[in-house]
Amino acid sequence: MAEKRPPRIGENPLFRGTIISIVLILVALVIVAPLIVIGVEAFSKGWAYFATTIGQADTRHAIFLTAVTALIAVPINTAFGIAAAWAITKFDFPGRRLLLIAIEIPFSISPIVAGVSYLFVYGLQGLFGEALQSADVKILFALPGIVLASMFVTAPFVARELIPLMQAQGRDLEEAATSLGASGFRTFFSVTLPNIKWALLYGIILCNSRVMGEFGAVSVVSGNIRGQTNTLPLHIELLYHDYNAIGAFAAASILALLAIVTLIAKVILERRGAGRVRRPSLAGAAQKPETLT
């Protein structure tokens, strides 16, 4: 910012004050109020009641299942994201742009459509249903189905943070490292990874937040078996429909806290440059990366 700023529109104090006030009030009503109501409802009968609700076996199991799902789905999607970003940004091959679009598809698809689709693969009426049943392998209404549906929904998260950044960074450093005799893995870990670590962490955090909060896709494939296949978001629905509003909001407050932690981590990582390489379109970025700072 230069010291002498040219006059710009919208600097009229009356207009400025009015529009800032209107926007702040709307932010308070639309964004902050839902957050506050969660806390107020969760603690409406005090700490002790909150603690008992959270401590119930079904809720504890839901928290456990959500954590296990994230522990499986997030590392796999991270590995996929790194592999996809490496393949797409370090090489030229036909169909590269198509692959980019294919990876982004889960973003555009309703979680319900994702869940229904998985049913037609692994469900009894699906492609592998009978084979799976005769082999006595349970995928749907069990942990594997929940993990698979979560992986579908969050497949693009890590790749979409890495691809524009690695595109912008080019291939020179890696080419220098390998020509000096470094192996592929050595090149990745000592040359590429230090340059992408914040963006990678950023993608992992967003991916984790979505996996832990996914509702629609998981609700189709989990079967909602209380204390068995209920993840935390599904458990919230169950409690809510049981007219146990405090229990629902107590469980919801855990996920709301996760959301706040995610936002804080996001701000910190953005200060370190993650999420800064913007690309209005992944497909467009395959040709021309855009770096805005």
Binding site: V23, F120, A155, E174, E175, G213, P280
Partner: protein, 273 residues
């Protein structure tokens, strides 16, 4: 030019393709296969049934209304965040992403509680005769909440990069602020706005978790298409569920094409400037 000295193409491309095939392509293919095995007559009967068409109408109209709200609010929010310095600006900037970070089921029960007739907002609103929860208005609010960040985040970077000289020129020529905004700034923002609009609309079409709590879910009145696909599943009417889900899939692919087109245009526009 065609030197390819970096290692790892077979490994990384292999992982990418296998993963994309198993996790993304296989289920979507299975859905299309299931819907296609219905035959054209049955398929058409299901997707054009009165209840299905009513759900498309509810979903599309509410998504359009929510997107319109986000257009105005998102634009104003982006403007305020970029143009002015005020206490708490960074917090507001971070809060914009809350709808993406907050799980949809959590948003759903929070919004329902706020807008129920005994809620903080629902109480005063019902006193003046406006019912929100369990009406289409509730659906619109849930959709607007979950898709709010899109327009802010597509417009914000463009607004940051606008050349101040253009505004100065307008002022030198004696134009009013409103004229400068509508004739100099707005045209430059249109590509980003359109891209944000299509993202926001597409997200609203597919939203499920936040809506089902607040919608009331009455067939023909407040039943969205995603819920209808879910209900058919719970009734063990798998063909109907596949058919309705396939309609949503087609709509999603159409929106994806539109979004990519608009974003490519927005990108070209940014680069020219």
């Amino acid at each position: 030019m065609a030197r390819r000295i970096l290692p790892g193409l077979p490994l990384t491309l292999g992982i990418t393709l296998v993963y994309a095939a198993i996790i993304i392509a296989l289920p979507l293919g299975a859905l299309v296969f299931k819907a296609a095995s219905l035959g054209p007559e049955d398929y058409w009967r299901i997707v054009s049934s009165e209840r299905a068409v009513a759900s498309y109408r509810v979903t599309i109209l509410c998504a359009a209304a929510a997107t319109l709200f986000n257009l105005v609010f998102g634009m104003a929010l982006a403007w305020v965040l970029v143009r002015y310095r005020f206490p708490g600006r960074r917090i507001v900037d971070a809060l914009v992403d809350l709808p993406f970070a907050l799980p949809t089921a959590v948003a759903g029960i929070a919004l329902t509680t706020l807008f129920a007739s005994n809620g903080w907002f629902g109480g005063p609103l019902s006193a003046i005769g406006i019912k929100v929860a369990y009406t289409p208005l509730g659906i619109i609010i849930a959709m607007a909440f979950t898709s709010l960040p899109f327009i802010v985040r597509t417009v914000q970077p463009v607004l940051e990069e606008l050349d101040p000289a253009l505004e100065e020129a307008g002022q030198t020529l004696g134009a009013t602020d409103l004229e400068i905004f509508s004739r100099v700034l707005l045209p430059q923002l249109v590509p980003a706005l359109l891209a944000g609009l299509s993202l926001s609309f597409a997200r609203s079409l597919g939203e499920f978790g936040a809506i089902i709590f607040i919608a009331g879910n009455q067939p023909f009145e407040t039943e969205i298409t995603a819920l209808l696909a879910f209900i058919r599943l719970e009734e063990y009417d798998y063909p109907a569920s596949a058919a309705i889900a396939s309609v949503m899939l087609i709509a999603a692919f159409m929106m994806l094409a539109v979004t990519n087109l608009l974003q490519a245009r927005a990108l070209r526009y940014t680069e020219k400037g």
